[in-house]
C-alpha cells in the first residue's frame, strides 16, 4: 500500500502499522514522537493496532527548537 507520510509517498507492505512507518523513516528513537492519521491524533497505545490503508495521510512529528 501507498501512504502519504509527512507529505511524501511511502510504499509499505499491506497490513503494516505505525511502528513500521516509523521504522521506515530511519530515525534513531521513537521517544517524543506523535502521530496523526488523516487529521486525528493516534495515541501510542493504538499504534500497533490501528489498521492503515492505502492513501492514508500520516504526520509524524516531534519537538524541535522553536518559539
Amino acid at each position: 500500500m501507498i501512504l502519504i507520510v509527512n507529505g511524501s509517498s511511502m510504499k509499505l507492505e499491506d497490513g503494516s502499522s505505525i511502528p513500521q512507518v516509523i521504522a521506515a523513516l530511519d530515525i534513531p528513537t521513537t521517544k517524543g514522537l506523535a502521530v496523526a492519521v488523516d487529521g486525528t491524533v493516534i495515541p501510542r497505545s493504538e499504534w500497533d493496532t490501528l489498521a492503515l490503508r492505502s492513501g492514508m495521510r500520516l504526520e509524524v512529528l516531534r519537538a524541535v527548537q522553536g518559539g
Binding site: 517524543g32 519537538a63 518559539g67
Partner: protein, 261 residues
C-alpha cells in the same frame, strides 16, 4: 508582594520563559538556557527529520527545565488544536502555548480563531497559554474561557521593537485575574525590564537571546533584566516630574564671601 509566579497550579522561581528557536546549535542553546535561569522552555512541533542530530528534549530536561510546546505556524483553530493534541501525546504535558496567526509576514495573532481554539483546548483539559494581541478585550475573553495565563505581544515576533503600546499592556494588567506574560517583541534587556515594571508577571524571550551576537551573555542579561524589573515594580518607583527635585540638602549651604577671597 514577593509571591512567586504561579501558572496552572505550578509555582515558578523564575519569571523568564525561554524560547528555544533560532540558536545556531543545541550546545549554545544549552549554555544560554542554563544562564537564563528559566524553568520552562518552549518547543515547536515539526515533522521528524532523520538528519537531525541531538535531542532538544534531553537538553531541556538536563537543565532542569519543563517543556512548553507551542502551536507556532498554525493559521486555523483546527490546526492549532491538532498540534496541541500531538504535543500532548509526544511530550506528555497538558501545557500548551497556543499560537494561531493570521499572517505569515507579521505573525500577528488571529483573535477570533484564537478564541475558538482556546475554548476547545480548555475543554479538553489543556493548560492553555495563548499568545495574543495587546488587546484588553481579547485578553479578558481568553481569561473568561479558562486560559491559565495570557501572553500579549509587545510587538511582532522577532521584531525586537519592545513594547510598542505600554498603555494597552497596562490596561490588560489592570483587570487580569490570571498571570500576564509579555510574549514577543523583546529586543534587549530593557524591554524585559519595562515589561516587568509595568507589572507583568513574566516575560518570554526567544530571538532576543538566540539571535544576539553573544547568546549566552544575553541570556544572563535577560535573567537579570527580569529580576531587576520585578524588584523595581515591588520597590515602588518615584514619580515622574517635569522639573528637578534636589537630591542634596537645600539647608546648610555655605555662603562664601567670594569677593573677599
Amino acid at each position: 508582594m514577593r509571591e512567586k509566579l504561579q501558572i496552572g497550579g505550578r509555582v515558578f522561581q523564575s519569571r523568564l520563559i525561554f524560547g528555544t528557536g533560532g540558536f545556531t546549535s543545541l550546545h549554545v542553546m544549552e549554555l544560554a538556557l542554563r544562564e537564563s535561569g528559566a524553568e520552562m522552555a518552549t518547543v515547536a512541533m515539526r515533522r521528524v527529520d532523520p538528519r537531525a542530530k541531538g535531542s532538544i528534549l534531553e537538553v531541556i530536561e538536563s537543565a532542569g527545565c519543563d517543556v512548553l510546546p507551542n502551536t507556532a505556524g498554525c493559521f486555523t483553530a483546527a490546526d492549532a488544536c491538532l498540534t496541541a493534541q500531538l504535543a500532548r501525546e509526544a511530550l506528555q504535558t497538558e501545557w500548551i502555548k497556543l499560537e494561531v496567526i493570521g499572517d505569515d509576514r507579521s505573525l500577528l495573532p488571529d483573535g477570533p480563531e484564537l478564541l475558538v481554539a482556546a475554548e476547545k483546548l480548555v475543554d479538553e483539559g489543556f493548560i492553555v497559554l495563548p499568545y495574543c494581541n495587546d488587546d484588553p478585550i481579547l485578553a479578558r475573553r481568553l481569561e473568561e474561557l479558562g486560559c491559565a495565563a495570557v501572553m500579549p505581544l509587545g510587538s511582532p515576533i522577532g521584531s525586537g521593537t519592545g513594547i510598542r503600546n505600554p498603555l494597552n499592556i497596562a490596561m490588560i494588567l489592570e483587570r487580569a485575574g490570571v498571570p500576564v506574560i509579555l510574549d514577543a517583541g523583546i529586543g534587549t534587556a530593557s524591554d524585559a525590564t519595562i515589561a516587568m515594571e509595568l507589572g507583568c508577571d513574566g516575560v518570554l524571550a526567544a530571538s532576543s537571546i538566540s539571535k544576539a551576537k553573544d547568546p549566552v551573555r544575553m541570556a544572563r542579561s535577560l535573567r537579570l533584566a527580569v529580576e531587576s524589573g520585578r524588584l523595581a515594580y515591588e520597590g515602588g518607583r518615584i514619580p515622574r516630574r517635569l522639573y528637578a527635585d534636589a537630591s542634596s540638602p537645600n539647608e546648610g549651604l555655605a555662603e562664601f564671601d567670594i569677593d573677599a577671597s
